[in-house]
Symmetry: C2
Subunit: 417 residues, 2 copies
């Protein structure tokens, strides 16, 4: 008799291999649990329901713009944070009713779209304000603007995704922000709504969020701008647990941490609405990357598992030194060994996970699944080494609602005509 | 009277803005000088012309697989180093007559294509050899194989691209390689040709190349395998100058450094041909990424130039901490200032160049050009932040021979259907 301890991944209540079989999609494939993403978005709304004004949860499209998934999230949030023309288009096609437009270098076309649709523009600098004014004047509209301020808070995250440190490319330092806000108030081409800030991504400590809000609050009070405030956008940035034993704050913890300051601020200035821009914390845990073992290899005293997706499909380990948990779906974890998991790319950096516990009997054809791969994974995929873009399967209420096969050669080739 | 000192970039004898105007392509766009790439490939052939056997320069497709450019390079080399099925297809479509098939985790389809076309397979491990044999048996062919050995030489390059250090995912250590070579010799399903090694990429010191060749030569002599040798593949890896003042060895320097050992080896075993796999050193200097200034910004005492391409188009600075020279085409360098150049992505890591000298009068709409962007740049581009893939223009003998517009929304959207 043999006792087994099989690892089984469930997506929207169904076993992963069952979902894959029904989809007919090969590997590598991103599989999304839309229920979970929608639940997380709802959790944000509910967590801030005590706020006296309106609360808008603007899903940050850059975390994952897969249209088959986005439509479910936007069906809940109705609002999105966008950073490019194509994100605008996908968000609108998916039913977004309100967009906030971000970015340090918006194109004229992006600004024009924002002006014509009366979407809020989080203006990045005095220089950009002048460009917004030119476009608004030409279009004979008043642009709805807020200023992105930099509260110069340094969260404990990867430098690539800490966005509000001194010298960052984003926003205007609080030392210089009043001048720009006043220019907005005085301008005949824009309507000043308030301020926006965003301190970074994958932040798992609440303190920087509180610190940033207090800095901005102090700025608003000291400058008297608090009286003009109709819009306060506190950005996103809440982290997700990339390690199984990691305990990270949830939307309700963030809401609790910010509650007192936000309520005080609202009592001073009852006219403002609260905007949030969560991305990763909505979608991060709702996705996995499913790969298949192509080749096993023992080399010296190192054991390798080579799968059919490389850093072209999941660049976070190479780009941010990121960690994703790895599970061999259906694998027997009673007897395990240590192995590193790498992709097929001809590049040493193409290693997805180092020194992990895997079933001793892991074999060619087994499904190796990278967890917490819903955010900043598929959205960064490329054709490096002429590898296909992964497929994707979206599951909602146990039903396959969006199925996309792994990219084919003809489609790939069209891009290069 | 005003003296100017204008920076002008020439491509295949023509000024860059003239090329762009004729192409009609917008920015961001990769512009390639096919003359230079072909010249570099020819330089390899000529540099090794003293070798008594055949010399095959196999262009490493992964450096740049843009079909419009590849056809010119392969017209010269007639041979390519490929790492995926799609690279095989592009290489064959571009006229390659001989392919060598690399990779640590080739798919069954890739191995089958290699077997059926009698392309050389650089086998990565004993485990892979068994898979090659299975496929060859099924197809009733003898696969042409060499073993990728790991000479465990540590070049002074970025760890992501050092491929022959101990514990690398690639190849078989020289301590274990004889066993695999003997298994190849004894197998009825494969034909043993010899050995392959590749120590890494962007190597600018010749010593590791010599060291690796000597290790492999010693291995061949000590094991007696030198008598069976019909194929010696010394890989690629020669660097290019990313900084203007950098002096890097050229193909003829590499050839000179390897000459004595290769000649000695050939006199011991006159039956082998020499294979090389240059990629970056053929194509790296032949490409530039042309971007346009979208927004200027002064922030504290830091000056920013925001251009219309981000790390989605050029990820090397973020991924490898790489340096690319930046030139403002047509800019007056008599009066200059220091500035950092960043893209439009909503991510702090989206900075392409830090603290560079730029013309004091740099303005919106100016062309900001990243040099030495022919290798591992366009091939790694992605749609992150829903940014379009850059366009590309290939110039040969002053003529525009391959013109591809910046990606459009409909094409992008098709990928996500």
């Amino acid at each position: 008799m043999r006792v087994s301890h099989r690892a089984v991944i469930e997506v929207s209540g169904r076993e992963l291999d069952d979902v894959l079989e029904e989809s007919g999609v090969s590997t590598p494939v991103y599989v999304y649990d839309a229920d979970l993403a929608v639940e997380r978005a709802r959790e944000y709304r509910e967590a801030f329901s005590w706020f006296p004004g309106d609360v808008r949860v603007c899903y940050a499209m850059k975390a994952n713009f897969n249209p088959h998934l986005v439509e479910h999230i936007l069906d809940e949030t109705r609002a999105a944070d966008v950073v490019s023309l194509w994100e605008m288009r996908i968000a609108v096609e998916a039913g977004a009713e309100e967009l906030v437009v971000n970015g340090n270098a918006k194109s004229d076309d992006e600004l024009r779209a924002a002006v014509l649709n009366a979407w809020v523009i989080n203006v990045d600098s005095m220089e950009e304000l002048r460009r917004v004014e030119r476009i608004a004047r030409r279009e004979e509209r008043r642009a709805r603007v807020a200023l992105r301020v930099n509260p110069e808070v340094d969260p404990d995250t990867h430098p690539h995704i800490a966005t509000a440190v001194e010298g960052s490319k984003f926003g205007v330092s609080l030392r210089d922000a009043e001048r720009v806000c006043r220019a907005m108030i005085e301008s005949e081409y824009v309507e000043f709504l308030g301020v926006h800030y965003h301190i970074g991504s994958q932040i798992t400590d609440l303190e920087p969020f509180v610190e940033a809000l207090r800095s901005v609050r102090r700025f608003l009070e000291e400058t008297g701008l608090v009286e003009e405030l109709r819009y306060l956008n506190v950005g996103g940035g809440l982290g997700v647990p990339y390690r199984m034993d990691e305990d990270v704050p949830r939307p309700r913890d963030l809401a609790r941490a910010l509650r007192e300051d936000l309520k005080d601020l609202h009592s001073e200035s009852p006219g403002f609405d609260l905007y949030l821009e969560p991305g990763r914390s909505i979608v991060g845990e709702a996705g996995v990357l499913v790969t298949r073992v192509r080749q096993l290899k023992e080399s010296g005293n190192r054991r390798w598992i080579f799968v059919d997706a490389g850093v072209n499909a999941l660049i976070r380990p190479a780009l941010y030194d990121a960690y994703h948990e790895v599970v061999v779906h259906g694998g027997d974890y009673l007897e395990t060994v240590r192995a590193s998991i790498a992709g097929p790319l001809c590049e040493s950096g193409d290693v997805l996970a180092e020194d992990r516990e895997v079933p001793a009997d892991v074999s060619e054809g087994d499904l190796v699944v990278f967890l917490t791969a819903g955010a900043y994974c598929e959205s960064m995929a490329s054709n490096y080494n002429c590898q296909p873009l992964p497929g994707s399967v979206v599951v909602r209420d146990g039903e396959l609602v969006g199925v996309r096969e792994v990219q084919g050669y003809d489609e790939f080739r069209t891009v290069w005509e």
